[in-house]
Symmetry: C2
Subunit: 372 residues, 2 copies
């Protein structure tokens, strides 16, 4: 992982903006997650958004936390049922809007929210605006994998149901940058999700994206391995899997559902007899380690990519551990200077894509000098 070079370890040197409302478990859980992160990382300061009296009470209860939190009053809450189209017209008084505003104003480096995904993306696009050169922002998710870093990056997981070839190229660049700065993979291997690994297979936009990404890999500082399949998402062949938001969302939910099904079947198996219950007791610590490896709370951060600012979306049902994991991810990215590095990568990719589309030849003789 890129190390901080500007004294990033000073107490309070990294500011994270946290939306305390909108999650399924309410602000007490969010504050508990903030407290857990604060204990572990003295470098973090927080700007916390929501109804001031309630937040002051919740934060006041935790020893030493009040000194590290600015509370920003916001009376309104974006609920899970609000439609994005309505939210962008009437959400000025909400904690979600306020949390994004802190990033927009440059007071905080990353915003964290466990609210409504569609509304969060809509507000983020409205207030932060897309990075120059980005057509469709993406949501990147971390996926438990067989790779040494423990996770793979999958994007887009549902920001936009469509993606054209140049969008997929940008997802490749942004995903590689995330793997580098968020997971510490120096030279990420990128694959394009398809129904087979042969080059003649798949939809037209995928064949074009295949050429674009291949041409941009060298300058992008990543290796392109070509088409990959659903079974590679959790495998060790690649670190970054690129796909459109429709396919990515369905793959994500299918994977989550399958892991949960196997876990539930496992529990039933152990509750089956006295002997198996005893066995479960004996194997407790091993089973807990297994649970930790596939625990969705540990990978609890969908990252919004392609905006003028970094936003981490936590699961709506996130508990204290989940919130804390999302804040940790936000902190790592802030410390690594991720947003600036990403912007530089995207700026570099945009002309490469148009040149490649125009000439059909690999581009990229311009040195960038950026280790983003």
């Amino acid at each position: 992982m890129a190390e901080p070079t500007d004294g990033g370890e000073r107490p309070g040197s990294v500011v994270i903006s946290v939306d305390a409302m909108g999650g399924d478990r309410g602000p007490a859980t969010v504050v508990a997650g903030i407290a857990a992160s604060a204990d572990k990382n003295p470098e973090i300061r927080f700007i916390v958004h929501g109804p001031e009296p309630e937040l002051r009470r919740l934060i006041g209860r935790r020893k030493g936390l009040a000194e590290r939190c600015d509370i920003r009053h916001a009376a309104g809450v974006v609920t899970m049922h609000d439609k994005p189209s309505q939210v962008i017209r009437s959400a000025q008084d909400t904690s979600m809007w306020s949390a994004i505003e802190s990033v927009r104003a440059g007071e905080a480096t990353v915003a964290v929210s466990c609210g409504n995904t569609g509304a969060l993306m809509a507000l983020s696009m409205l207030r932060l605006r897309k990075l120059p050169g980005v057509n469709r922002p993406a949501i990147a998710c971390l996926w438990p994998s067989r790779n040494p870093q423990g996770f793979n990056v999958v994007l887009d997981c549902g920001a936009d149901i469509r993606a054209d070839a140049p969008d997929l190229l940008q997802y490749a660049m942004m995903g590689a940058s995330y793997a580098r700065n968020g997971l510490g993979v120096e030279r990420p291997r990128v694959g394009l999700l398809n129904v087979g690994t042969e080059e003649h297979k798949g939809r037209g936009e995928l064949k074009l994206a295949h050429e674009l990404i291949e041409g941009a890999a060298a300058d992008g500082g990543f290796d392109y391995v070509g088409f990959v399949e659903g079974g590679d998402i959790m495998g060790a062949r690649v670190d970054v899997i690129v796909t459109d938001g429709f396919t990515g969302n369905i793959a994500l939910k299918t994977g989550e559902g399958t892991a949960k099904l196997v876990g539930d079947f496992l529990k039933e198996a152990f509750e089956n007899s006295v002997m198996s219950k005893f066995a479960a007791l004996l194997a407790m610590s091993s089973l807990k380690r297994l649970q930790k490896r596939i625990d969705p709370r540990r990978v609890n951060g969908g990252l919004f990519l392609g905006l003028n600012g970094t936003v981490v979306k936590s699961h709506g049902s996130a508990d204290e551990t989940g919130i804390s994991a999302a804040i940790k991810l936000a902190f790592q990215l802030a410390r690594a200077g991720f947003q600036d590095r990403l912007a530089a990568r995207v700026a570099q990719a945009a002309p490469a894509a148009s040149a490649s589309l125009a000439s059909d030849a690999p581009t990229g003789t311009a040195p960038t000098g950026l280790a983003s």
Copy 2:
């Protein structure tokens, strides 16, 4: 499940055509699977396709098997690397071609092959032809689920990367018919895979398919529950999940990969210490039951739907248990008169789709009188 009405229980009354070649493990494994099925089901006769001397030797070794098998000599083999476009020009001498030919000629009710999927679909389309009214045939897979029948039907799992709204309607009809005749679900619940359950979400063709399937449900003898998500594929909300072959293939491989990852992590967890190894020993029978519930070999039959004849595609890596599971599925479908019932359903759906497309009104006043 629909019960046979025509003396289906007579020894030798159901004929299954088996391609003995093309699987990763060779004809000895296929013959072992045939022998296992023959032991359990005295009603089945087999037509076995491949190099005669080798098959005669392999079958001759199994007591009583030779009397129940017709061997059809075919010297050629379709390999996993052959491209479908080449195969349809030059595969007349192969065991795969011959296996399909037995269904085409009416000698066998269902064909089973563990060869190259693309080639098998191409040859099946070439020789059996599409059912009248079917635009795109589909591959239906069984998925371990929380439903009482233990499995859900997912289609298309990869026959065609595209599907328009009328194709998705036919998948719904065919999938419901499969759930009824193959899984014994009297009134299947059908869902359309999307990135959210709200009606305004998703691609245009999905919104149109949503209306078409809703209008056809009553006459089709199934319940339509609307849009479902990736997490419903293994859930208890629906019995049949309808999607295009691109999405279905990626979901299938993501689910398989996730189950395998969790299984491998579980093994590692149990090998972690002496105590956990001992625990694994104690829990052996429970763990075996778990393995059986999620064993892909037990659901080892991709079913080709929409042709003038039924073809079961077994996993290329299928072992004896896997081959036997595929033959069992073929036998159940043959005994239930599945092919005729399916054809009747499709014939009924075709005019419904065009009428609905033309008038945008729900159709279906014509009684069908068919319990297919």
